[in-house]
Symmetry: C2
Subunit: 583 residues, 2 copies
């Protein structure tokens, strides 16, 4: 029939059958960090994850960055809930800043919820959480969506992905995952569910792209246990210090179990290490006897061969346990030639220098250090290429959106999907704010929604903006010179010109320069007055100072000019105070 | 005879036979960069290399760092010459700043000397170089030393190591090297000389530690040629853009030769790329016909499959050729889906983010990119572990000092030497300024000499010091608030309080805060005057402002206070102007 008409028939658009499902990433694409995704159909919105990101070195003085919540704020009445995949900061860290403003229910597994509660208690203690504890296998009705969390392996326990049944079709969000066939807690990624979903038909899959550049399979977490075992055997007579992420509870558990087998006690160092282990034990995620532990204050004098210290600082974070030790500044432990330090983590991109500095300083303390270059002392929590292929092959989605990656990772993941036979037009490399609209028949990108980065400086949700950051970069580049001049209406100085500098040559080192600046300021004021150009005084001072600086050095500090004209007469009267500041 | 006395006899110290040779690293140990070493015997000093280092991100606004020349300046009359190993910046980059002050002869091979001349012309054009062109195999008498440069392979042509015959024994300095058995120019590392030196006996060897963490052998530079060949075949229809270090002339030559074989023309982009290729051709280090090249202005409209573009920017340097292309800002070339970009270099540690940003932006332009993750598109210029072992086995030195590495590399290199049988006490992990004193019989560390880092900011040799850098970090962290107040002896304001800020909330965004600061300043002045505590005015203002800032935000900007007291009377008179500044 179709053939005879020579045309393909289309159902009319906008009919009930073609109502569209929208997927909008608000973070975590084109970047690794601050994951936040939106799924909407009709009046119902589901948010998936709400994470933060650590700033790059150009964001001077910024503590961290969160997704711009503007789109969610504008649509807050439609939000039915926030689904959380797991308890890492790049998935939950923005909740304390954003959740109180949205005030909607959140859905998370037990451990994840515990970590969220800790964060909220610290930063937004007054907010009353509307929490739903969920578990893999549950089926929840949220708005028009049916939501089924499923277990995935990752570098923190209790991670889930989500299968979301929508009126248009099934959506699978993998969360951060690897396909570890021998997980520490026996809780493998749920292949069976993924396969059955794939068989029935999946409209859209979003998947983790972090390790798409790595060939093969990511080794099992259990591999690290074996390496630990060998290491403990080899360094039987040394005290062993292990540094890892405090959230990597399976790693920590393996270190503790190895310690017990080798008849060693364990001391925990670092606030988050102590807190996370306590929480994991309390919630039943770690089964360890209390008498395994000794207090940090008991480390001194404890026999080296009988002790393991587990500490924070694997990223070289200033003031962390390991960094204090590397500088000989830790109050409870001094390292030396009888110590072995094992850094069971890789530097997160951008942290390389801090980590390397810490390793160098540890060697300076005389201890032996096992670190990134060595094999199997750390494994990643993210799937490598073969696992990503397997995920794509199991789920066989009609449409595919790579998530959790810089732009290059997303492109490589798209190419991988194409190698597996997905048509190029069905794979979408999305940027923040892009809107993918899907019906049962087609998918297309619509106009962007507001998105971007919000900067958190201090504890407050700050309106620190791009301009302030660029000002900080200017200050950092060449420092600052600040000029203050007080003069009368005739242009006579009423006090010596004040010059202050920061991050620029000090007066003690450049007295001649400072005197030349003073002269140039006085002349500039006089000249402006003589020509009747009062309004130009500040800019003339600035030009004059700039000229002097150029003659004396090649650097161009920020110049701040504060001028005060004070009028004579019966007593004093303020005439005006002008300020101008130009770099 | 000895045995019968029950004692070992010693020659008296200080006699002619036991005069000591000193080795002093002034840079390049505990860091990768700014290599500079000193060898001295009696009144004669030889310097080996004089390099710079790029600053880490904490050195705000610093262009680069050079070794502290204090020790050399204090001993300049004893310096017989500077030997240069090769033409990379970390070996020659400090010459324009240090050489004019020492004004001693330098010894370098032809290409290296050409690169040194370029640097001096740019930065110290008036200095008249006292240059000696040397070649591998020469034997030079310099002071009491006999110096024999020998060829080594590295990622720049014409590199040498040095065998230095001293009254105490032979010293071997490997320079930066790899043992490439199939070098592009047929000029292999001189195994024969090293073996014969080893057979006769070498007192001290200093060796490159850069790649001590890498197992096996570093592949030959020729490997990259093969990969290029395959790449050109695979992407026959695309325009190919290759980015590499401008100093890696063999790499560039291989790209050009491949282009010629595939019947493509070559366009060079980037100032240093154009300059280095011109210099290499002029000095006979690159044999390429002029008609291979087209001008950048001819790129537009040139058939894609007939062109190769070779550009700077492999480290993501701002304003470099590749970075401009990645942003769509290059005036001569717009990239798109018909382009392939090959980044034939690895990010230098610390440059990862810039390089990754460039790769992401290139993908955004729609082109395909081959980069670090892919095999054999780049090989290192430094020896891996098996080569380092071979060097130690050939030369068999009595004493060994690992050079050219962060502290961890030096320790690993020491461990490697110990595995090969060198006694631990004969291997010295040295830090900058350490002095190793050797006679024929013993070696020991003496007291340090002055050493450290000098910072170059702008073109001038600046006395920018640690305090200025920490001030810049403070400014960068939270910005700055600057307060100026003019008042009479009674504490009455004579002009409104002036407040300026940089990198901190602007008045437009925080008017209430600014008004509170003004009030607090006025009150602080009044209070100090009322209590007759004139000398406390500035610090009281500072405390008051600090308090207000704390109440309004969690951040702590630098606070600058400039106060001016102006006295009334017949006309005006300046009483005093105090300034105080505390963070």
């Amino acid at each position: 029939m179709q053939k005879s008409t020579g045309k393909r028939r289309r159902r009319p658009r906008g009919g009930k059958g073609s109502a569209s499902l929208k997927f909008i990433p608000l973070g975590g694409v084109g970047e690794i960090g601050k994951n936040m995704n939106v799924l909407e159909y009709g009046d119902d919105i589901l948010v998936i994850d709400c994470g933060l990101m650590f700033p790059d070195e150009e964001m001077l003085g910024v503590d961290f960055v969160i997704p711009d919540p503007a789109y969610l704020m504008a649509n807050r009445d439609r939000i039915k809930g926030i689904l959380i995949t797991h308890g890492h900061d790049d998935h939950i860290g923005a909740l304390p800043f954003i959740l109180p403003r949205l005030d909607c229910p959140i859905y998370a597994t037990r451990l994840t919820l515990g970590l969220i509660r800790s964060k909220l208690e610290e930063i937004a203690p007054k907010y009353e959480l509307k929490a739903h504890e969920i578990a893999a296998g549950d089926v929840l009705e949220i708005g028009c969506f049916k939501v089924q969390p499923f277990s995935v392996c990752h570098s923190i326990p209790d991670g889930v992905g989500y299968a979301i049944y929508t009126p248009v079709g099934v959506v699978v969000h993998t969360g951060d995952f690897k396909l570890d066939p021998t997980p520490i807690d026996g809780r493998a990624t749920d292949y069976a569910l993924l396969a059955s979903l794939g068989t029935k038909g999946v409209l859209l899959m979003m998947s983790d792209s972090t390790n798409v550049e790595r060939d093969g399979f990511t080794p099992s977490e259990r591999m690290v246990g074996k390496t630990m075992e060998q290491t403990f055997r080899l360094y039987r007579n040394r005290r062993i210090v292990v540094s890892s992420f405090a959230s990597n509870l399976h790693r920590i558990q393996q270190v503790i179990e190895t310690a017990v087998r080798f008849n060693r006690k364990v001391a925990l160092i670092g606030r988050s290490m102590v807190a996370n282990v306590a929480r994991a034990r309390e919630l039943g995620y770690m089964n360890v006897d209390e008498d395994v532990f000794i207090q940090p204050s008991e480390i001194e004098g404890f026999p080296h061969s009988r002790l393991v210290v587990i500490t924070t600082g694997s990223q070289g974070e200033p003031f962390s346990g390991l960094v204090l030790m590397s500088r000989g500044d830790h109050k409870h432990i001094k390292l030396g030639p009888k110590d072995l330090v094992v850094i069971s983590a890789l530097p997160i991109p951008g942290n390389e220098r801090l980590v390397h500095r810490t390793i160098n300083d540890l060697f300076r303390q005389g201890c032996e250090v096992i670190y990134e270059a060595e094999q199997n002392i750390h494994v990643s929590g993210h799937a490598s290429r073969e696992e990503l292929k397997m995920m794509l092959s199991l789920v066989k989605p009609t449409y595919f959106v790579p998530l959790h990656g810089e732009y290059r990772h997303l492109v490589r993941h798209k190419q991988l999907a194409e190698e597996l036979g997905l048509p190029s037009k069905n794979v979408f490399v999305m940027e923040k704010g892009d809107v993918l609209s899907m019906t049962k028949r087609q998918a297309r990108l619509l106009e962007k929604v507001p998105s971007g980065a919000y900067i958190v400086d201090g504890r407050a949700y700050s309106d620190l903006n791009g301009q302030l950051l660029s000002e900080r970069r200017d200050l950092a580049e060449d420092g600052l010179v600040c000029i203050s001049a007080v003069y009368d209406p005739a242009g006579n100085l009423l006090a010596p010109v004040s010059i202050e500098s920061r991050g620029f040559l000090h007066r003690a080192d450049a007295d001649e320069l400072y005197r030349s600046i003073e002269d140039s300021v006085e002349k500039a004021i006089k000249a402006a007055k003589a020509e009747g150009k009062d309004e130009d005084i500040s800019s003339r001072i600035r030009s004059a100072v700039k000229g002097v600086l150029k003659r004396f050095s090649m650097s161009a500090p920020v110049i701040l000019v504060l001028t005060n004209e004070v009028q004579s007469g019966n007593g004093f009267a303020c005439k005006f105070s002008r300020r101008e500041q130009i770099k």
